[in-house]
């Protein structure tokens, strides 16, 4: 029973990179599952069972994190000391101030039963979805850049993009909730 690493990258035997080959990750996940899954330890000693349980819990948590590019980036940022996560997403990114102000007005109107705000909201939704796509494309570029240069400044950049993305995502969710909720 060799102790397993609690570091997600190390557990998978991967370099600490932001761009990962997902089919390769899945292959590693299946193979490691075959090795550590509690089903393989059912008739073993209590210690070995606990070992399998703990190792597989890390493995599953790791796979969940690494296969999702955003969670993966958050994880790598945290590893590198950029640990502000949620906090950053509560502040409105300055470049979005005006849009968010208008959006909130429209949301208020719709909530107040004024259906004429609907087209404006549809418009806003499209705009924010497009914005999110742009952010995702920026992120991919930065991922490649970081993997190449291993530059902390790139990580700082990614930190900012992730915060902006979370903020935009919340906006999209909120608008969609209002639009479908009001229609129902």
């Amino acid at each position: 029973m060799n102790p397993v690493s609690s570091n997600y990258y190390d557990f998978f035997g991967l370099e600490h990179k932001l761009d990962l080959d997902l089919p390769d990750l899945e292959k590693r996940f299946y193979s490691l599952s075959r090795q550590y899954h509690p089903d393989r330890y059912t008739l073993k000693s209590r210690e070995e069972q606990q070992y399998a349980l703990d190792a597989t819990a890390i493995l599953n948590d790791a796979y969940r994190t690494l296969r999702d590019p955003l969670a993966r980036a958050e994880y790598l940022l945290k590893e590198n000391g950029f640990d502000i996560g949620e906090q950053g997403s509560k502040n409105v990114p300055p470049e979005l101030l005006e849009e968010v102000f208008e959006l909130n007005m429209a949301l208020e109107e719709l909530r107040g039963g004024d259906d004429s705000a609907r087209p404006a909201l549809e418009e806003a939704r499209k705009k924010f979805v497009a914005m999110r796509e742009q952010i995702d494309s920026d992120l991919r570029g930065q991922f490649t850049e970081y993997d190449r240069a291993r530059d902390r400044n790139v990580l700082a950049e990614i930190r900012g993009i992730l915060n902006r993305r979370r903020y935009v995502r919340n906006l999209v969710n909120e608008v969609e909730k209002e639009l479908t909720g009001a229609a129902a």
């Binding site: 299946y30 599952s33 075959r34 899954h37 509690p38 089903d39 059912t42 008739l43 349980l53 597989t56 819990a57 890390i58 599953n60 948590d61 796979y63 969940r64």
Partner: protein
């Protein structure tokens, strides 16, 4: 030097059990490594999940108990699975439709009144498990103590815990709880497709599950699961019963809905009619009670109108499951149907329409879960090597935070085992305890989710407010059951956690029930073995008695005759002991000493037969 002794022993057998709402089954892997269902004493593979307490105080399970539903409705219970892991407060709806007699004083744990005694749902389920264990032992001729037990995928923590408790009370080591649709996929996938995406639609007697799996070279990875733990064939039966009761009320001028025996007889009648309607376009519900007769024709068309909303209720979870799995409908290669209710043509059509694929029905929908449980049992005991199940937790796990809002720690559809660590601190100077309320569900507010338990972190070192750091680890194991451990992050020492489950039995309660029942279970097993040994002894004693009349007996030497007489007396001496091994040993001895006699008798028989033959 003494060589090291390695006891390879005999691999202990693990059976697979489908503990169903309506029927329960036990399966095993046969010598050829094929899953197979074990029949009961009456030859029936399905053991009705019905338990009755006779007036003599014996517990009877299965087909015989089903008969008692009509004769002794107050001493008989069915569909107990609906009450597993639930509190008295949340079964009020159930009570309108099911004749459960809840004993007074039931709160976080329900107690069911059977005659003069009361039992918790895990105890009643344990009676069913014990019957299955007995069936397996009789069939396999060896003690059975280890099992895989299936549960609906959408069962919450308390329902899973209650099922595990039932196993413990029945004297079984439940090695794993497996989700029913996943088990079904295992049964199907064993010799079918190697790769692809499969949906399993499981509509049983009382529960509905939908799971979507990715199959890859022996790995069964559940992508998402959804369902409703209170939706199934029972609901359809209740609709039909309701209509018939109204008819009877107006035709006979009498409301019979409070007569347990009448309702149970009627229940039987509507179930039979429902089952026929899957094969014919129209049938009659026929029912007689105290000399009066009721009959009503029901067409499939009327039936379908009646159950349309029930079938419809399964589709929402299906759509959500597809979405959560992150697949498009077109990517789903196959749909597998599980559970007796999927025999209904309307259900099949609905599934076919939604998934745009013809569902698979090659395996008996009543047996497929038990077969899959047997496969999983094979995986755990190491006899099935290439297969591995990766299942998920059906519900998100969270803790209550300020303002009654839930903070999610482990999201639904996370592969299990899954864990999350959260650090807690104190709010006032010198605070010694922190109470953590753990919930399961998808809603924002704590009050809308299922309360699992309250964990009390005790004996925290007294420190200024906010200085203590208690790291709590929430771990959902491979059974889908939550384990909580805590440690003081400053000192690294283990922090004691006091668990108060919101529903269900405490460990002490389960222990008490186990010690009471294990004795009995062992007693039962031994009694059966002794009875079997005595039957064997009777057989050989009768044979020897008869042989003494034979000429061949006189041909033996005095010594040989003396030996036989001595062995015979020794067998008679141990006959009434309760040591089956001793009885068997004496049978063996007598058997060996009469070997020559038996041979001689055959020879005599042959030669006398020849003598009698005219040439």
């Amino acid at each position: 030097m003494t060589p090291i002794q390695i006891d390879f022993g005999k691999q202990e057998r693990v059976v697979g059990i489908d503990l169903g709402t309506t029927n329960s089954l036990v399966g095993y892997m046969d010598a050829a490594q094929h899953p197979s269902v074990i029949p009961g004493e009456d030859g029936d593979k399905l053991v009705p999940s019905v338990v009755t307490l006779t007036r003599k105080g014996d517990v009877i399970v299965g087909n015989k108990a089903r008969a008692a539903l009509i004769d002794e409705p107050d001493r008989t219970v069915y569909s107990i699975k609906r009450l597993m892991g639930r509190g008295a407060g949340d079964v009020q709806e159930e009570l309108k439709l099911f004749p459960f007699r809840i004993a007074e004083g039931s709160e976080s744990v329900i107690r069911i009144q059977l005659g003069e005694r009361t039992f918790t749902p895990p105890e009643i389920s344990a009676f069913i498990l014990r019957q299955l264990k007995k069936n397996a032992e009789a069939f396999l001729g060896e003690p059975v103590t280890k099992a895989v037990v299936t549960v609906p995928a959408y069962f919450n923590d308390a329902q899973r815990q209650a099922t595990k408790d039932a196993g413990r009370i029945a004297g079984m080591d439940v090695l794993r709880l497996v989700n029913e649709p996943t088990a079904a996929a295992l049964a199907y996938g064993l010799d079918k497709r190697r790769d692809g995406i499969v949906a399993v639609y499981d509509l049983g007697g009382g529960t509905f599950d939908i799971s979507i799996l990715k199959l890859h070279d022996g790995i069964f990875e559940v992508l998402a699961t959804n369902g409703d733990t209170h939706l199934g064939g029972d609901d359809i039966d209740n609709r039909l019963i309701h209509i018939a009761l109204e008819d009877v009320h107006s035709e006979w001028g009498k409301d019979i809905s409070h007569y347990g025996d009448a309702v149970q007889t009627l229940r039987r009648a509507v179930i039979e009619a429902k089952e026929r309607l899957s094969f014919v376009p129209a049938t009659n519900i026929e029912f007689a009670y105290k000399g009066k007769k009721y009959q009503r024709e029901i067409t499939r068309e009327v039936f379908e109108k009646l159950i349309a909303d029930i079938v419809d209720r399964t589709l929402g979870p299906c759509r959500n499951c597809i979405k959560d799995a992150g697949v498009a409908v077109e990517q789903i290669d196959e749909v597998v149907l599980v559970g007796g209710s999927t025999r209904i043509p309307m259900v099949r059509n609905a599934v076919e329409t939604l998934f745009r694929a013809k569902p698979h029905t090659d395996l008996n929908p009543d047996e497929v879960v038990a077969l899959g449980a047997a496969v999983q049992a094979g995986i755990l005991s190491g006899t099935v090597e290439n297969q591995l199940l990766l299942d998920v937790t059906p519900l998100s796990l969270g803790i209550e935070t300020m303002g009654g809002v839930v903070s999610k720690l482990i999201h639904r559809n996370s592969t299990i085992p899954a864990s999350a660590t959260e650090t807690f601190t104190t709010a006032v100077d010198g605070q010694r305890n922190v109470l953590i309320h753990v919930l399961q569900g998808e809603r924002e507010l704590a009050k809308d989710n299922r309360s699992l338990a309250r964990f009390d972190l005790k004996d925290i070192d007294p420190l200024p407010a906010g200085m203590a750091r208690i790291e709590v680890r929430f771990l959902i194991d491979a059974n889908g059951i939550l384990n909580v451990t805590a440690r003081d992050a400053r000192t690294g020492k283990e922090q004691s956690v006091d668990i108060k489950p919101s529903y269900g039995l405490t460990d002490e309660q389960v222990e008490a029930m186990i010690s009471e029942s294990i004795d009995r279970a062992e007693e039962d097993f031994r009694a059966r073995q002794v009875a079997e040994a005595r039957v064997e002894a009777d057989r050989i004693l009768a044979a020897v008695d008869k042989a003494k009349q034979n000429d061949a007996y006189l041909d033996l030497t005095d010594q040989e005759r003396n030996d036989i007489t001595r062995a015979l007396n020794e067998l008679l001496v141990v006959y009434h002991s309760d040591d089956h091994l001793l009885i068997r040993a004496k049978i063996e001895q007598l058997n060996n000493l009469t070997m020559k006699l038996a041979e001689n008798m055959i020879n005599t028989a042959v030669s006398s037969a020849l003598k009698g033959t005219k040439i």
